[in-house]
């Protein structure tokens, strides 16, 4: 689906991404993990065409992404930033409908088919009852569902998410991750930066561990989440066991201050 070939990106002086190459197959759920400042968000922005790498190639279904018109790209790849700087008091319905812009275009109107899609998504995400509420009045968990709903109305085959659950409690985190997994199971490729290693381990089909702008490790959760990898990249002591329920690797942090006694 996506083929990334040797990309480098820099905001100015130093390279934030160094010679990154990897591939994503259709239907995968790729989790990008790594410490703060390792280039995770930058990599997502490059894939979303918000930032342009100065070297390398990115192919989407064998087509160089910069050859695709931006409005067409929006029908194939949708992106949700980690923060939406919220301004106007759009209602939930208005906000979700904005995801149909690539189809209606500049001068177009929402057609019956567009409205049906919005309607289905509102239903699917259980936010139909809030449709007339203002988005900023909702709780963080509800807001995140509205934001993801907007991404889904774009009907892209790849969705890119930047830390979709970073500010949510454990209950809401699992709820949102379940929603994303369901989207993934319906055939949509998902690429997501995740801060929480254990969520990444449970939900993703493939992981990419970044360190200082380079790929440190790549593969299944079992291959990537080992105590050697995590200790080296995150510079902290950890234990990695298996979650008895799912069999996936589970990371336990160990406070260094307790070890020194």
């Amino acid at each position: 689906m996506f083929k990334i070939e040797g990309i480098n990106f820099s905001y100015g002086k130093d390279d934030v991404l160094k010679d990154i190459s990897f591939e994503i197959q259709k239907g995968e759920f790729l989790g990008i993990i790594g410490p703060n400042g390792s280039g995770k968000t930058t990599l997502l922005k490059v894939l979303a065409r918000i930032l342009k790498p100065y070297r390398g190639k990115i192919l989407l279904e064998n087509e160089e992404i910069y050859e695709i018109p931006l409005s067409e790209y929006a029908k194939k790849v949708a992106y949700l930033p980690s923060m939406i700087e919220f301004s106007f008091s759009y209602t939930v319905e208005e906000f979700v409908s904005l995801g149909r812009f690539p189809y209606t275009g500049r001068y177009g109107q929402l057609k019956k088919s567009d409205r049906d899609i919005v309607e289905n998504v509102l239903e699917q995400f259980e936010i139909g009852q809030y449709r007339k509420r203002k988005v900023w009045e909702l709780s963080d968990g509800e807001k995140q569902r509205v934001f993801i709903a907007q991404v889904i109305t774009q009907q892209a085959s790849v969705i890119i998410l930047d830390e979709p659950v970073s500010h949510l409690d454990i209950g809401h985190s699992f709820k949102i991750m379940d929603i994303i997994k369901e989207i993934n199971r319906s055939g949509i490729t998902v690429i997501s930066v995740l801060h929480e290693l254990n969520l990444a381990s449970e939900y993703c089909t493939k992981l990419l561990l970044l360190n200082k702008g380079s790929i440190f490790s790549e593969g299944t959760a079992e291959e990537v989440i080992t105590y050697q990898n995590i200790e080296k990249v995150y510079q902290t002591k950890v234990l990695v066991y298996k979650n008895p329920h799912t069999g996936k690797p589970y990371v336990f942090g160990i406070p260094a201050i307790l070890l020194t006694r």
Partner: protein
């Protein structure tokens, strides 16, 4: 929604009637039906053009205010607070020195473009927050206004001084020659802005989001700013610096009609026009037979409104 639209329409009709019938001469309803030739001449040649001028200036300032707030995602943005009007007035002063009356709107446009260029360049380079961008705009306005005042003080030419007086924000001396050009150009550009409303909807939720929804953000912002500068240039050429119309009207409109831009911009155009007809009528009747510049009244209302937004603190929630 239908009642709201009716209310907007009635507001416009009432303000037009008020604008035509009130002033140094009062026309009561019975008198309107038995007009003498002089009365007809006053209505057709003096009142009607002035109502038209007030309408198009108000409409232009409001619609640009709403667009600027959306694309800069700044609730305090408008042509006045961003220094665009100030730049336009300096351009006009330059144009008057050179002495080509017909070219004055072009000078105003260049001045407007210059100041928005300075404001944006500085705020991008220095990563200014929203209120700081406005501070910069206000500072530029002061700078440009004092330059205009300087030019006015140095020039002793009488006609020149009347032009300068107009720049304070007064529709009573609007230049008749450019009224119809102004109406046509502002209307056409406003229709374009209204039709592009969806683009501003998407831009208003953030640059990154807008790119991923397929909008070429650089091009769209430049285009919108360019159009705003043309409109503001014409408005300032017609009526000078009239502050805060572009701030008050978009906020009130958004409160009643929501933020969706196709609807909001259409309503802004009409209510902004009606609002300025009313305030201009007030300006020429409040201490009859003396007339005060309309900018005094809009400045007073708008200043209070601006303070209210600032003091409310969490001003983002006003949107």
């Amino acid at each position: 929604m239908k009642t709201k639209y009716t209310a907007v329409f009635l507001f416009l009709v009432l303000s037009v009637i008020a604008g035509l019938s009130l002033g140094t001469e009062f026309y009561t309803l019975p008198r309107l039906f038995s007009l003498s030739p002089t009365d007809k001449s006053i209505l057709l040649n003096i009142r009607a053009p002035r109502v038209l001028a007030a309408f198009i200036i108000g409409a232009g300032l409001s619609i640009t205010g709403a667009v600027l707030q959306a694309i800069l995602r700044n609730p305090l943005a408008e042509s006045y607070t961003l220094g665009i009007s100030g730049g336009a007035s300096l351009g006009i002063a330059m144009g008057v020195i050179i002495g080509k009356t017909a070219l004055i709107p072009s000078f105003a446009f260049i001045g407007a473009l210059l100041s928005i260029f300075i404001v944006l360049l500085a705020s991008i380079k220095k990563r200014f927050s929203n209120p700081t961008v406005i501070l910069l705009g206000v500072a530029l306005n002061f700078l440009f206004s004092s330059l205009v005042l300087f030019i006015m003080a140095v020039a002793k030419n009488e006609q020149f001084q009347s032009t300068m007086f107009r720049l304070i924000g007064d529709i009573s001396y609007f230049p008749y020659q450019i009224l119809y050009t102004g109406i046509i150009v502002i209307t056409i550009l406003s229709i374009f802005l209204i039709l592009s409303g969806k683009v501003y909807d998407v831009i208003s939720i953030g640059d990154e989001k807008a790119v991923s929804i397929g909008i070429n953000i650089e091009t769209e912002k430049k285009l919108a700013l360019f159009i705003c500068c043309i409109i503001v240039g014409l408005c300032v050429s017609l009526g000078g610096i009239i502050g805060f119309v572009g701030l008050v009207i978009p906020h009130i409109t958004r409160f009643f009609f929501g933020p969706s831009h196709r609807r909001a911009l259409t309503v802004n155009f009409i209510t902004g026009g009606g609002f300025l007809i009313l305030t201009d009528t007030l300006a020429r009747t409040i201490i009859r037979p003396l007339e005060i510049p309309v900018g005094v009244i809009t400045g007073f209302c708008g200043g209070l409104f601006f303070l209210a937004i600032l003091l409310k603190g969490r001003y983002t929630e006003m949107w």
